[in-house]
Symmetry: C3
Subunit: 346 residues, 3 copies
């Protein structure tokens, strides 16, 4: 793929050499996210950060990535405040807003909306999530994290990954599956209640690409012998009735003792976040917060690297970043220091 000037809409656009190219650029962004140095390569450029659905984390991640390259960010955080709510077409919104900015990151609740918007845009558009459909930078940061955690250089091969939870509605596990299917000999263990299992066409696609797929509703069995466990949240309202929900309550939860009992040592723990940390959530327990294999916050850190790389590549400045580098003057000391164990009721 020619990145420069290209809309990044779907994980389906990527071939494995595109992923390699992206990850190589992402690696080079690390001195900037660690504040060892800073760059002004996009000084004067404007990101239109259009979030027509609330998402603090992803919105701020895209905005910071652009700031770290030196650019300005103009944004919108709500569909109600926009002309779209008065019947304006995505075509009109795109024609207008793309006249203001150099690149656009867009989230919208409706599947296909970002692609429709991009057809009328005069600047590159990055899909930051279109409803249940796509969120390509999430899958890319997930794969990037897997490689970094497992110290894999080059394409992943012979990876053993368990995906756990709501595999039916989870956008992130769909996209990550599609992305992993580009590689060779991946072993997928899909752990979910039967009602929330992975859509058949994705399973078929994985099998057709020569990967191994095991499906189970038995958490303990599914956790065995993986390199990575990727957890997602189950919402009880997804079940047909309360009896069904009751059957599975608490059975797809990971905590310190379940991890120690069932997971291979050093199994990487991932989650797309946000996780529900309320007592009744039963998702991924806080007692793993200090575990060295818990990669969930390294995932979000890596997200900034991936988004910087996407901006640099689509705007054609990937080879210019270092030329505009300057020193960092300010305090950055604790940034990657290990945190002390938490106290209190966390």
């Amino acid at each position: 793929m020619q990145f420069t000037g290209t809309h990044i809409l779907s994980i389906g656009q990527f071939e494995s050499q595109d992923v390699e190219r992206l990850f190589e650029v992402a690696d080079r962004m690390e001195p900037y996210t660690k504040r060892e140095k800073r760059t002004r390569v996009l000084d004067g450029a404007i990101l239109g950060n259009l979030f027509f659905e609330p998402s603090t984390r992803t919105r701020v991640s895209f905005g910071c990535a652009f700031n770290l390259l030196g650019g300005h960010v103009r944004e919108t955080t709500d569909i109600k405040a926009s002309a779209i709510s008065k019947g304006e077409s995505l075509y009109d919104t795109a024609r207008v807003i793309s006249g203001y900015s150099d690149i656009i990151a867009m989230r919208h609740p409706v599947a296909g909306s970002v692609e429709e918007f991009s057809r009328a845009s005069r600047v590159p558009v990055i899909n930051a999530g279109d409803g249940p459909s796509e969120h390509p930078s999430q899958a890319l940061l997930d794969l990037y994290t897997i490689r970094k955690e497992l110290k894999i250089t080059g394409p992943v091969e012979n990876l053993r990954i368990a995906m756990v939870g709501d595999l039916k509605y989870g956008r992130t596990v769909h996209s990550l599956s599609k992305l992993l299917s580009l590689y060779r000999n991946i072993h997928f263990t899909l752990v979910s209640p039967k009602e929330l299992s992975m859509p058949g066409e994705i399973v078929d696609q994985l099998l057709a690409a020569g990967h191994t797929v095991c499906q189970t509703d038995n958490m303990q069995q599914g956790l065995q012998n993986n390199d990575t466990v990727y957890l997602t949240r189950i919402q009880e309202e997804r079940f047909a009735n309360q009896q069904e929900a009751d059957i599975y309550r608490g059975r797809f939860r990971l905590n310190q003792s379940i991890y120690t009992q069932h997971c291979k040592p050093n199994t990487v723990i991932m989650h797309p976040l946000p996780r529900d940390s309320r007592a009744e959530a039963n998702e991924l327990d806080n007692d793993l917060n200090q575990h060295p294999s818990l990669a969930i916050f390294r995932q979000t850190d890596n997200g900034v690297l991936i988004r910087m790389a996407l901006f640099a590549l689509t705007l054609g400045v990937a080879e210019e970043v270092e030329k505009h580098t300057e020193e960092v003057h300010w305090y950055t000391d604790k940034r990657f220091r290990k945190l002390p164990p938490m106290t209190g009721d966390q």
Copy 2:
């Protein structure tokens, strides 16, 4: 008018030489909006972009214009989140916020509020719309667009313009009429249902200034023989009763076939946007989206030029802009390329 340090509150402040001065500066901003170069003339300055009423388009346009001059933007998007909702006076808000910023752009739902605010402000204030009253940068960008589309250099004269739709409540047609009345021999055709006709005092003002005014509720007749047609939306709830609304339904609509049948070739089509593109809206059809005379997106592009010029003039840097110019490194290629015809159900 001395622009430097002056509040821009009303189109009534402008004489024709002020408009000439503004448009001359706006012309010089084009290399920056086209990203042929960039400027840092306002690097370090802060715009207080105070939108006490939602408007993504206008808010982002002002913000981008300031970023394109190199400045920072701090903003508010909602009156509910502000102290105004707790009984704070506009005087207090102005005294406080004007201590934070170098210039303020303000939208507020109440007529007269921006003027009241400006009296207590310590920095120049630009009215970005005060309810039904004024929105001077819109009228200025409309006139600027008319001149560019018709390749007029210098003051407009002998222009034939049709204004169509809700002329009673439409802030933009009022302001544009007042602005055009500064020039000589304009021929206005005012096309609206009788219930939504142009206020008498504006018509009187146009006539007193020596212009020609024709009023009609016959769309086909009104479209004949104009240089420009300026459309606005009719909201059915404006009518006294449903029977009245039914009489006029669909009669003030412009589409490809009506344009071809009734408009002079090359008649410029304008609209303040947003337009309602839902099927029932009957306003300005999408089948004109690729028409070379459809100027609606050039209007919004021109809005950035006009707002950059207003900032540069009120902050006294209009002659400094080029001195702080630098190269653009990043991809900008598609920005003013023609879009391919749309596909699908747009």
Copy 3:
């Protein structure tokens, strides 16, 4: 206190030499807030301006302070739009967002939340208000204002201050009291309805530190013989019943005639803002708006100096600010000109 890399959570962290250090840096920020020059010392740094509760004034003040040091600002304005509303813990939010930014300013409706957040943050956190609990930069700007208004150089001593209004729930008067208790021989006059008097433990703390405290519900008496009067708003719903509210209605109001009758000449008038300027509010009348002793807008101006100093100190660049100074090109003339008397119904 070692400022660099330290969370600023509570006024209790400050000893008097810390206050001196902060105020000395704040003094040096004045040429930048007056736009006599500008600095780029934090060019490339990112402030995470996390407001999980609306507050235009404080949010914009923090954001502008960071922009004035040359940095970028990414922000959130609403808790509903955030993952916190989906059950995300403050620990998770902190781990994620502190990976994006160089420093965080945070407001949150729950007491203790900012401290909890800061424990998981990898960057310094400044408390911008955690519910009824703390808002340290407000107390610091209040004390800074008192010293400037009274032309005190060095620690305050023998100050006579009246605090008026709702002293029970008023976060600002609590924090200012604690801060003043660091100094010697302060004379506090606490004027409030009995139901809304200063909490006993704060009074005890002031007495234990050797200060004088007078408590009264008699406004006229309380106003006598002070250097400074600090007003806060009384909300009628605070009273146990309407009869109680009726007893006190209008009795804690300051206007021109009450000031002239009861206050020593040149008594400094302060208020944390926003004030309610509606007719029924009876708080601090607009007829004092032009009074030379009304310091309320100098308080908010000083807030930017204090926040710049907090950023510069916690990020360890207080001694670098001047090294990155540049000229200001744009119009700044009216910034500190005196305003003309107000006209109209303000």
